[in-house]
């Protein structure tokens, strides 16, 4: 059983560090301890701050720039495959579809740039495919993958207008950085991929503007990509999961997906709010920092909690509901802060002392929400008869969720696949990868078809590149 995650994960800031970081006045200086996440989120920073320069050097030497063709051998650590004795489920992607019918004569590779900005992360990545079907032996190459995150003060969510401003003001610098890191010239590119949706309207629009201008300037076709499909295809490519049930968990989405008949079909999903949204909103109630991400800080607090408090548990078949849980735990937190000693769950009725901490609340929230996620995933696995699970989306980085999923999958003798921060959290490379698959199947977008859409269901996309 190899369940090692990417080493850098361990160096993420602790909750206290994150807190200190946020209280520090401007100008922005990332924490010294921060490495992979801090560096990804701030890779584009051309701030002359020496600390930041150091950080870039660290990243450059270990992760990105010194490996010209950054391929997945480096990444095999990031894959969690809990049962190696499985039925060859990690054979990789074997496809009968001809992905090369539009290949340019004499050219042996395809290269795409991807632009993502559907929420508060702006990402640009460049990917390369060789001719032929993708497989363990013929894997996609990540040439660069840079990201910058819009961060708000503790207790606040992000407004679309400010997020859009962030994207607009960074997008050109990120594209430039991405091209430089990849060492790719514009002549090598085959297409420009962008997120068409789903997501927040203004941020999506701010990014597609750059994509359209670039496409005309370089005379390259545009490919609009469904954000969720980007997550799924990148997850499959990175981990080698062949035909998994996909748990897609992020700030805006909570879905259990499985492939059939050229569509990624949604078997289960939230009936109200998304998991990431639920965690973010609770983080706001607690007024904990949004850096590096609210969910990450809840995870750190939860690690220190131990008292389990019973919360509502609402699973409806393969669907689930979270708004009731959020309302309930918000109330508990508010009673705790206000010292409402009549609350018997929080306060010992004899001593009037709090018997529950903020850490316990985070712990209980995670235990309850994740148990629900694992349960609906398992139900979908039983329903479609598969024993592979792939976790994608920002919340997929959560180690507790991954561990719980692993425990479930072990009981089914199956395999779990997850990626680390670079691919779990919204990024440009997944848009490049999924877009390139569409490109190889001959798909092209006219300018008039590049208007972004806030609502774009996963099952609307015809998955032409799979059998």
């Amino acid at each position: 059983m190899s369940s090692t995650r990417h080493q850098d994960t361990k160096e993420l800031p602790s909750y206290e560090e994150a807190l200190q970081e946020h209280e520090r006045p401007p100008p922005y200086t990332p924490p010294l301890t921060g490495s992979i996440m801090a560096s990804i989120t701030r890779l584009s920073r051309d701030d002359p701050d020496p600390i930041y320069e150091d950080l870039n050097n660290v990243v450059d030497s270990t992760d990105f720039a010194d490996v010209d063709h950054y391929n997945y051998d480096v990444l095999s650590n990031a894959v969690r495959d809990v049962s190696l004795d499985t039925d060859g489920s990690s054979k990789g992607i074997v496809t009968m579809v001809n992905l090369d019918q539009y290949a340019k004569p004499g050219k042996h590779t395809y290269t795409a740039i991807g632009l993502e900005g559907s929420a508060n992360k702006l990402g640009v990545g460049i990917i390369r495919h060789n001719l032929g079907p993708l497989s363990q032996e013929n894997r996609a190459q990540v040439l660069s993958n840079v990201r910058d995150t819009y961060i708000t003060p503790p207790g606040e969510g992000f407004l679309p207008r400010d997020t859009a401003r962030h994207h607009r003001n960074w997008v050109v610098r990120l594209i430039k950085r991405s091209m430089e890191e990849a060492g790719v010239s514009r002549e090598e590119l085959d297409c420009i991929c962008f997120t068409k949706g789903p997501g927040m309207g203004a941020p999506l629009q701010s990014v597609v503007i750059a994509a359209r201008a670039l496409s005309q300037l370089w005379d390259l076709p545009l490919i609009g990509v469904n954000h969720c499909i980007g997550h799924i295809e990148m997850g499959r490519e990175i981990t080698g999961a062949d035909n998994p049930v996909v748990l897609y968990v992020s700030g805006g989405n909570t879905q259990v997906i499985a492939y059939s008949n050229q569509r990624y079909r949604i078997f289960g999903e939230t009936l109200d709010i998304a998991i990431g949204n639920c965690l973010d909103r609770f983080a706001r109630t607690l007024k904990i920092p949004n850096y590096p991400s609210p969910g990450y800080n809840i995870e750190q607090l939860a690690k220190k909690g131990s008292n389990y408090i019973e919360l509502p548990y609402t699973v409806k078949g393969m669907d689930l509901s979270m708004s009731g849980i959020l309302a309930y735990i918000d109330q508990l937190a508010n009673d705790l802060f206000k010292g409402n000693t009549s609350n018997k769950v929080i306060f010992n009725q004899e001593t009037k002392e709090a018997q529950i901490t903020v850490e316990d609340l985070c712990f209980s929230l995670q235990e309850t929400l994740f148990a629900m996620l694992v349960e609906i995933t398992e139900r979908a696995m039983a329903h479609v008869n598969t024993n592979q699970v792939l976790i994608v989306g920002g919340v997929g980085c959560n180690e507790r969720l991954q561990k719980m999923m692993e425990d479930m999958v072990l009981d089914r003798k199956g395999s779990i696949y997850a990626t680390d921060e670079r691919f779990c959290i919204d990024n440009g490379i997944m848009i490049a990868h999924a877009g390139l698959l569409e490109f190889r199947m001959g798909k092209r977008f006219e300018l008039k078809d590049t208007v972004c859409t806030q609502k774009f269901r996963t099952d609307e996309v015809l998955v032409s590149w799979r059998d």
Binding site: S118, A119, T195, G197, P198, G199, M200, H227, C228, S250, G251, G252, N253, A258, S260, N261, R263, R265, I266, F267, G268, T270, L271, D272, I273, A274, N277, Y308, E310, Y313, V315, K316, G317, M318, D319, E367, T368, A371, V374, E375, I376, E378, R379, A382, H383, V384, K403, M404, M405, D407, M408, L410, D411, R412, K413, D426, Q454, K455, F456, R457
Partner: protein, 250 residues
């Protein structure tokens, strides 16, 4: 399928030769030809043993709570539904709640692609099959369930088993672990929505037909009480709208 869970089940089932037929999300389903207390006269008669193992991934407190709650909820609902007019569910043979075990009447038989669940039967795409009347019958039965104030909680085509009544297939509802009693229109509407979504994802090619047949049966199942039916329908449309309108941010 996990061996240690099977061993655990067997440790609670001394002298009962069981064979695992499926591993659902929360239970292992075994069949056996040994009745827990009756002498079996009929050779080949089978019984279902449903075992809810502890879930390692869940916090022990939550796990104990859910396992107990669901074993009992299922048993109680089956007790209420068994013998009710126009409803078919398996009968209870024995309950070992402390070990999470339910003994149930065996429902269904083998068909070309596995057990005779509605899911497998629809997957056969049998041109001679009368899917329409079958799905109407399922809708009708769900309506009766709802009129009794019972919500299934996990309506899928896997959870409808088919039994031969003469030459006709008749539906039988199973797996009430997520079921509960409720007379709220909302709960019934969500129950239907969950089914609609399951049809959509599991039987995408014919989902429109299947869903409309189900709904016709559901309407008919309300008999004279069309007012109640309309209330559920109205809320069902709301629930669907919520589904479509739901924020779909990345």
């Amino acid at each position: 399928m996990s061996d240690h869970l099977v061993e655990l089940a067997k440790s609670h089932l001394t002298n009962i030769p069981v064979s695992l037929i499926s591993q659902g999300a929360e239970s292992l389903i075994f069949t056996t030809t040994t009745h827990p207390y009756m002498e079996t006269s009929d050779e080949g008669q089978q019984y279902i043993v449903k075992f809810r193992p502890p879930k390692k991934y869940r916090h022990p407190q939550l796990d104990a709570q859910l396992t107990k709650r669901r074993t009992l909820a299922e048993a109680r609902l089956l007790q209420r539904l068994y013998g009710a007019d126009g409803i078919s569910v398996p009968s209870i043979i024995a309950v070992d709640a402390r070990n999470g075990i339910l003994w149930l009447e065996y429902i269904g038989q083998q068909i070309e692609n596995g057990v005779s669940s509605l899911k497998n039967y629809l997957w056969l795409e049998d041109s001679k099959a009368d899917y329409e009347s079958l799905l109407r019958a399922v809708g009708d039965m769900i309506a009766r369930l709802h009129q009794m104030g019972i919500v299934h909680g996990d309506l899928t085509t896997s959870n409808v088993m088919l039994q031969k009544h003469g030459s006709q297939w008749a539906p039988c509802l199973i797996d009430f672990g997520l079921g509960f009693t409720s007379d709220l229109v909302e709960d019934k509407a969500v129950d239907l929505y969950v089914l609609e979504r399951a049809i959509l994802s599991t039987h995408p090619v014919h989902s429109d037909n299947y869903n409309s047949w189900l709904m016709e049966g559901y309407k008919k199942g309300y008999g004279k009480d069309q007012g109640k039916f309309k209330q559920v329908m109205k809320r069902y449309e709301d629930v669907r709208m919520r589904g479509r309108k739901r924020s779909m941010l990345g």
